[in-house]
Amino acid sequence: MAKNGTARDDRRPVGDLRTVRGKSDGSAAAARADALDRLIHERLRLGIVSALAVNDALSFSDLKKLMKTTDGNLSVHARKLEEAEYITCTKSFEGRMPKTEYRLTAVGRRALERYLDHMEALIRATRER
């Protein structure tokens, strides 16, 4: 992941998968890998999107516990997803305690579905060889 890149930059194809083009998995599979969404490919962001896909909403602390990560790390990755409009963030107060809640948007859900389709296509391509 480009540390200083924006969320939009991260939608570029995944470099590490692209490097294996022409290897044993064949060019078709590599071409599919090229179309991968880099933003969602990163583990923590993939985890956030997956967790939100099966929950109506999750609080910052729920996500932090679930992902076993730090506040800073989660904030950075959640912000990237937010910038790409994959998730929305709502800040409110519960009594005197601030509460940050995340929800998956339709764009984010489609991105996850596309990602799952890519993964499945890669596996299928290998099995068909």
Partner: protein, 205 residues
Amino acid sequence: MASVTPLHRAPAPEPPALHARAMDNLRFIRDTMEAAGAFTAVSGWGMVAVGIIAAIAATVASAQDTVLRSIYVWMVAAILAPCVSLWAIVRKARRAHVPLLSGPGRKFILSFSPPMLVGALLTVVLYRAGVVEAIPGMWLLLYGTAVVAGGAFSVRIVPVMGICFMLAGTLALFTPASWNDWIMAAAFGGLHVAFGIPIAWRHGG
């Protein structure tokens, strides 16, 4: 002069095959969804379909002239509905790339099945004893028990639905037998549709 030992760079490890990475990613997504604890193997749309079957069964059963004939109608629905529900569950699991018999899915089946088996057994016992009026109430109670037990490992809305079925079962056991078809219609029809739509909407189909 001391001899110089050339430094050899260790050969770079082979990058993992694409399909291995893909499988690893799918496993990670599945594990995260399971840990998030809100994916339910229960299909909301399957429940809506079961609700529609129950509504049709209730209409047909209410037109029968004896309680026993109504019970036969409900038995046909009781065979058809799980088949539709199972098909919807399998379809949902495949769409979500979640193996049906792992994690929460397995726990759900293990908790859901015993009350359903007891229900089938008690149906035979009550039928033989000639207490057919008690069968609808018993079905609702045990179905509710199964849903509560299975739902303990699922999203919160599932056990809540189970409790509603148990209340309907209690009502059916303590009201006149002529009410049974309507209580069954309200529970198996109405509750399935009422809970199925939000489950489908919020919890993956």
